[in-house]
Amino acid sequence: MSDVLRAQRLSKRFGGAPALVNASLTLDRGDFAVILGPSGSGKTTLFRCLTRLTEPDSGEIYVAGEPLHGLRGAALKRARRRIGVVFQQFNLIKRRTALENALMGALGRTPPWRVALGRFSRADVEAAEAALAAVGLQDKMRQRADTLSGGEQQRVAIARALTQKSAVLIADEPVASLDPASAEQVLTLMTDLRNARGMTVLCTLHQPHLARAYASRLFVMRQGRLSEAPVGSMETAAEAPARSLSL
């Protein structure tokens, strides 16, 4: 199977109220899928169920053909390494440097004693440095995360996912906390990474114009129901002219 991420009939209720109803999607390698929907429509619930940060009531999730649903303990941890995540609030460790935050992507494969001593493997440190260079932050590697701007912090979060070398990148409203210029920068970066590395990206957004500009596939979320919409005549990221980074 060539699909990188597949969800089948995911459902979740919160205290009786359905938040997610039979959501299914299948992403192939290189897809830049956008889930568009107003806040409260269930996008974040879908994101949290796909990553199993929230346990779905029912449904199946496959990452690179391997099941994620039903896994527990060590198996779940191993499977999660294949999913890179970017959160709306960046979720960096504020008092750690950009480099240490990028290294967090290697946390899953690093033995606890190395974590305790802060001695990550040479290869992982190099991977984190390369990831920060790829997001344009090679000059800010030693800076504490809470001294970076919002856009920079979100780029560190993307570097974290790159260090993780995951099969898929799932981003929940990655630009909702950013100013318009930083938002474009982050989405352009995600597009570039997808183009350059064949990464598969799933990204929730609530602004139609951004979805139009960047999506190669479009899903719409309404009241917990997910449906794919034709990108059709929409100007997609692949066709879009390169966007200036110096906005």
């Binding site: 940060l53 941890k77 390494r81 960046f90 460790i93 606890p112 305790a116 974290r160 993780q164």
Partner: protein
């Protein structure tokens, strides 16, 4: 929304007032009982005051003879508090992880951990010291053990609360890298809460120096022992000197602790 009839509304208001009046009456009754039980008596205070004034007058000038011995005892108090706080913190470290809702391995560990730390915290270090004097004999070591156990409970409680207040986001991000609890705690949680945990520890140290001044009363070492001896001998000039030393010591430790805590933030 349903529209509530105003009659219903005023009825509810009357009930609310009645409840408030009942609450006031209960509090007043509780105070009355407490005043009676604790035998508060203005007349006895009035009788005792002249005696107290007389003692204070006899306390001047303070008797600082053998100052070296007094300072040694004060140092003993600081040492008891320091070692007791350190060992208490070491015991608290694993306990606070088990007792913090957001990082506990499970409720089957959470509840016993909470019970244990509440038990440790519920018994004052002074009482623990009293028991340890019987077990390991007179001297500062009994004081160290007493301070240690009470501090372990207190620090674990405060630490686990600080941990529960940590932002969940970075912990989730760490978990999504495939890290287990130990690695999440070490890498993502500790840097976030370290200033708060250190501040709590310094505060407990400061508190323990103050609390340890009385340990000598039960024979668990420190300056309190000298204080008790002097009070027993009605040597008020000596008592006065010791109180001055205690005040100086506590003020110094508070200043050091506060300076260190300010640097953490």
């Amino acid at each position: 929304m349903l529209h509530r009839p105003s009659a219903h509304e005023s009825e509810r208001r009357i009930w609310a007032r009645l409840r408030f009046a009942a609450l006031l009456a209960t509090v007043a009754a509780f105070y009355a009982v407490c005043l009676h039980v604790s035998q508060v008596s203005v007349s006895r205070l009035a009788e005792g005051l002249p005696r107290l004034m007389n003692w204070i007058a006899r306390g001047w000038p303070p008797d600082f003879s053998g100052l070296e011995e007094l300072l040694l005892r004060a140092g003993e108090t600081v040492a008891i508090a320091t070692i007791g706080t350190t060992f208490g913190a070491l015991i608290a470290a694993p306990l606070c992880i088990l007792a913090a809702r957001n990082v506990t391995p499970g409720m089957w560990m959470f509840h016993p951990a909470r019970w244990l730390l509440n038990a440790l915290r519920g018994v004052d270090g002074f009482i623990f010291a009293l028991i340890f004097v019987a077990a390991v004999g007179l001297g500062p070591f009994a004081g160290v053990l007493g301070v240690m156990l009470h501090t372990a409970g207190s620090i674990a409680k405060l630490w686990s609360e600080a941990i529960e207040g940590a932002e969940p986001g970075p912990l989730e991000a760490a978990a999504m890298s495939g890290a287990g609890r130990a690695k999440v705690v070490l890498f993502a949680l500790l840097p976030d809460v370290r200033p708060a945990l250190s501040s709590i520890t310094l505060y407990m140290w400061e508190f323990n120096v103050r609390a340890s001044t009385v340990l000598g009363v039960v024979g668990a070492g420190g300056i309190g022992q000298e204080l008790k001896n002097s009070v027993d001998l009605l040597a008020f000039d000596r008592v006065f000197a010791i109180l001055i030393i205690i005040l100086a010591m506590v003020t110094l430790i508070d200043a050091v602790s506060q300076a260190l805590r300010r640097r953490l933030l």
